[in-house]
Amino acid sequence: MSHRTGLEVSHAAAEAVKLAHVDVVAAYPITPNTHVPERIAEMVANGELDAEFIPVESEHSAMSACVGSSATGARTFTATSGQGLELMHEVLTVASSMRLPIVLSLANRALSSPLSVWGDHSDVMAIRDCGWIQVFAENGQQTFDLLLWAFRVGEDPRVSFPVIVNFDGFHVTHVIEPVFIADQEEVDRYLPPFKPNAVLDPRRPVTMGAYGPPFIYSETKKAQDFALHKSKEVMLQGFAEFEKIFGRKYNFVETYKAEGAKVLLMVIGSFAETAMDLVDKLREKGEAVGLVRIRLWRPFPQEELRQAVRGAETLIVLDRAMCFGTLAPVVSEIKAALYPEEKRPKIVSFVGGLGGRDIRLEEFEYMVRRGSELAQKGQEEIYETIGIR
């Protein structure tokens, strides 16, 4: 049986990696992700975890070493944040295109400049189209759970894609929370050993990373995208099996008190927990307000999203990142997904919580009030910024 214990979420993430019997970890320090690799290095140094820890000289090399390791057939993990992810960017596309199931825990952080070590979603939004499976955890338990799920789904030969587990920098990484830490026996039941289709091995030589001229490049890309869409079936199986063994249920799009809601808030990441408090408060007052949280960000669950918002009159979307010069990343995805719907809610876009700034209960309440108002008269600006001076 798993045991419930209070620990820092970064350490809970490290526990998940340890329980997954990871073979190789390559990481470079960057705030606020550092506690994850630090804890893993400690486990390796103490002999608690039988793995190779490579203290690389940059994030670019971290991801490159992960590619080499995963291609050799080792279960591979790395962790990073903000600028670190951007430095990895070039290698991220290679890892997904070569179908290497590396797992990356991403402590979401703002991007320079000005330098900010604090949290928002600018980092992951800048790499959202790199071909990785991307999920968002909202708290310590989800971070722990989704990391185990990430290894299982990513390494499934029907999937064979790398996975990013997002958890908010500081707001989640650095807090101490009660987390159910699973037993080794349970994890072993959930997570089979990594058996890739082809590896770098002198007994059976293969060429990896050949170049694709125009007559074949398009086919490789189409095949990759097809496989990424198709992997959703295995992801659902991964969730179902998780529920069976650990009793906790996950889905691509999750709702909170959304039944019969006229106004829906949509939040991605840890701020959803504050939004839940607001929904509780407003429901008590008898207001038909609910919450939709996006768990799976890539591949984007269009159909599941359409179902989740069906019947609502207003959809208020909060983004914690900007796409300079156009719509914010989440809302643009939502608008695209809902466009084919004959009857769709009015969509209002807010941006906030940038660079570690908090969004409090009263600001969520403002969003609901102002959002409903804007839905009536139409939002002229493409987004409104929360709490801006």
């Binding site: 090399s61 057939g73 170049y211």
Partner: protein
């Protein structure tokens, strides 16, 4: 010598691990060096290749020239990729997931991938002490993209991004000394080689592979396309580079320098330069300048060799002495480790001995 020429080819590993049919230019000295290096390494190897000529000529989807497990990821990260491969092999071997035994890890790249864009990842991998061999195939410019200058392009050479003009000589800077940079990491083995000396190249690559820990081999790879000379003069060009001292062949074993070929008198650089289109624009006084620089570097190398041969340590002022001792004891440790790794495999000076090593 006649006997040698009969036997030597038979001593070479007949296995070809880079298959013919690849798309290298006619007269390519680099693919020749790759071929020799793979012969020396044998089949028990995993290779990571940086983007560049060797990658692009050998791996057009859905075909491949490689008969060994081979991976190409990006331009600047072959050393980091091989770090991951090596770590994975270590973990998987320890956990019994792959059969026990050593698999050589090989990273390779051109001079741009090594001395420019990939220098950081190479330095990181050397410093961390991964058990791998890095081979730099140096053709002295970015040939794959159309002969742009790199930090490994020699002074005075004409390239497309450092062309000679009314106010420029072409390459204005001196060639970066990558072998010295590798040696500065205090790794157990560093060597320079050239495909014009195949037995020496193979012996050095084999030695590099067998050394425990990081090893670096810098191979001058003659490039008729970029250097603009006859495709039938590749071997001659490599020999002229070595015999004129432009590219001396040497080894640095546990910090000790040893010349592979010592010449009582070097050939002048002029005939070497005159045969190549990339140096055609140089005037006599510029050639004289290059000659002086080559002489200076040769003397520097000779003094390093002489220092390495000293039995007694050179007297140093007391203040530096303690520091010197520390470094010395570290070097000795590495040496004793290397001795254990390969007993009875002493490098010889004569080519005859070199050929014997080729057999093993």
């Amino acid at each position: 010598m006649e006997k040698f020429s009969i036997y030597a080819p038979r001593l070479i590993n007949p296995e070809e691990n880079i298959a013919p049919g690849h798309r290298a230019c006619i007269g390519c000295g680099e693919v020749l060096a790759v071929r020799y290096a793979l012969k020396a390494m044998g089949p028990n190897v995993i290779a990571a290749n940086a983007t560049g000529c060797m990658e692009i000529i050998s791996s057009c989807l859905p075909t491949t020239s490689w008969k060994i497990p081979w991976i190409h990821v990006l331009f600047e990260n072959a050393s980091a990729v091989i770090s991951g491969v090596e770590a994975a092999r270590k973990a998987l071997t320890r956990k019994g997931k792959v059969p026990p035994g050593r698999v050589y890890c090989l990273a390779m790249g051109g001079d741009g991938a090594t001395s420019d864009i990939g220098l950081q990842s190479l330095s990181g991998a050397l410093e961390r002490g991964h058990d791998f061999t890095y081979i730099c195939f140096d053709n002295e410019a970015y040939m794959n993209t159309g002969v742009q200058r790199s930090s490994s392009t020699p002074y005075g050479a004409s390239t497309t991004t450092a062309p000679p003009g009314k106010v420029s000589i072409g390459q204005w800077s001196q060639k970066k000394n990558m072998a010295a940079i590798a040696a500065a990491h205090n790794i157990p083995y560093v060597a320079t080689a050239c495909s014009s000396y195949p037995f020496d190249l193979m012996a050095k690559v084999k030695k590099a592979a067998e050394v425990k820990g990081p090893a670096y081999v810098h191979v001058l790879s003659v490039c008729p396309t970029g250097w603009r000379h006859g495709t039938d003069t590749t071997i001659q060009m490599g020999r002229l580079a070595v015999e004129s001292g432009v590219f001396p062949l040497y080894e640095v074993e546990n910090g000790k320098y040893k010349l592979t070929f010592d010449f009582p008198k070097l050939r002048p650089v002029k005939p070497y330069l005159k045969l190549q289109g990339r140096f055609r624009h140089l005037k006599d006084e510029e050639i004289e300048k290059i000659q002086k620089q080559v002489d200076k570097e040769w003397l520097k190398l000779k003094s390093l060799v002489a220092m390495s041969m000293e039995k007694k340590p050179v007297a140093v002022p007391a203040a530096i002495e303690s520091k010197g001792q520390g470094a010395g004891s570290k070097g000795q440790k590495a040496k004793s480790k290397a001795k254990k790794a390969k007993p009875a495999r002493r490098p010889g000076k004569k080519p005859k001995k070199v050929s014997r090593r080729g057999k093993k």
